[in-house]
Point group: C2
Chain length 260, copies 2
């Protein structure tokens, strides 16, 4: 068992208590693997069907099912953990201590940097019992709409793991690679377009200022990078060129759509 | 169809393209309902099994399945939408425009305040086709661990809807209701505990300052509210009382555990 680790997610133990259906275990394992969490514990499992469905829904995460640890009781499943995070959908006794997963993900990761942390999910039908909730050091409730609060077990596992994974900052979202267009290039773009729109006869000089405000409005929203600006500079140059080079049939290069 | 609405989630259309399995549709509907999003569209559905499984997994969200809209093509399914948000797991052509759902949830809600917004999910096996991605106005990719990037369709729907629901700020997490303990009450607590611990013979005066530092360390972490402080003040008072009122058998009230 990891105690000190570079990656706090390695110290997260997803503990499913009294789970009824292997399908939920399998879906939970796939969700865990998606979020870089791979250690599953079953406490007092009460499985009503075979692992066939569980393995099918785990898809390529069946390894998590194979490597699961099983415990006879809740207490044994969390005994080695430095923190026990319970998930609850209900109000009542401990309500005032409950936080949203996003609000305590950083705290949980900080604890997981020091030792194993159990994140505990109750039964499909009854959740965690009061005596189990009383043993938790942290309680979280997943935000749901008042109109339909009953969340599937594997979906609850997913959101909780997603918040932990996101809070690690390990995921680098893809980002714009082209550098931003400098103001000078943007002004050059507006100048070229003005010349082009006059050249091809789209507007005359009297109306140019007004129409260029519209062009500027559109471009200021859409032209973000140097590549964007270069693209539209190219369009303006080509339109001016085309105006000087009539189509081979002597007519305008006009599609049906442009004519309407 | 809502165009202007108080709740931008009413204008979100979850569009599943070429979906193969009703179970994923049912699980997606339950996830949508959990997050207050209730309008499902199927574009060119390619369902391989009956609605029995879909309805079973939707649980109490079968209404979303019944009220679904079906379209022959992707284009028709998004034609009335002011924005088309595609979800993609792949890199490639449009990679630089992809954002994480959390990073663009507010933008999507702002658009949904003006008209219908399609949030589009591709086929279980192939995702969205390149020509479909090219029609999207926004692209998102759900953060997943590099070790297992294949996310279930309904799980992808859940995370996307969860980010939109969370971004509305409609969910108020439960919070501590008791007012915080003021410093004066905390000092009173330390004074009472010092007297009590001396009274019951847990420490003598020479060592009191040092030991009280330990008590202070624990209490400063754990005593947050007036209720917390009142609880521990009561413990101190009762211990002093008990010291003056010996147990009926004349001995100490000592459990097995305390003796070890």
């Amino acid at each position: 068992m990891e105690q000190e680790t570079q990656n706090p997610l390695d110290n997260i133990r997803i503990v499913l208590v009294g789970t009824l259906y292997t399908g939920n275990v399998g879906s939970a394992c796939r969700a865990m693997a998606n979020m870089g969490i791979r250690r599953l514990r079953l406490a007092a499992p009460n499985l009503q069907n075979s692992w066939e469905e569980g393995n099918r829904l785990a898809v390529h995460a069946t390894e998590l099912i194979e490597n699961r640890e099983e415990f006879a009781t809740f207490e044994e499943a969390v005994a080695d953990c430095v923190a026990v995070v319970g998930t609850t959908a209900r109000g009542g006794l401990y309500r005032q201590h409950v936080r949203a997963p996003r609000d305590c993900a950083a705290d949980i990761l900080a604890l997981a940097a020091t030792g194993p942390v159990a994140v505990v999910f109750g039964r499909e039908d009854k959740g965690l019992l009061n005596e189990e909730v009383a043993q938790c050091t942290h309680l979280i409730r997943i935000p749901v709409d008042e109109g339909y609060t009953s969340i599937n077990l594997a979906q609850a596992v997913l959101i909780t793991c997603y918040e932990l994974f996101t809070a690690t900052g390990r995921y680098q979202p893809p980002h714009e690679k082209a550098p931003p267009a400098p103001q000078g290039q943007k002004m050059q773009l507006m100048k070229m377009w003005r010349e082009m729109l006059e050249d091809i006869g789209y507007m005359d000089e009297q109306k140019a200022d007004h129409m260029m405000q519209g062009i500027h409005r559109v471009f200021s929203r859409g032209v973000v990078t140097k590549d964007d600006a270069a693209l539209l500079l190219g369009v303006a140059r080509q339109a001016v060129w085309a105006h000087r080079h009539p189509a081979l049939d002597g007519g305008r290069r006009t599609s049906e759509e442009f004519r309407t």
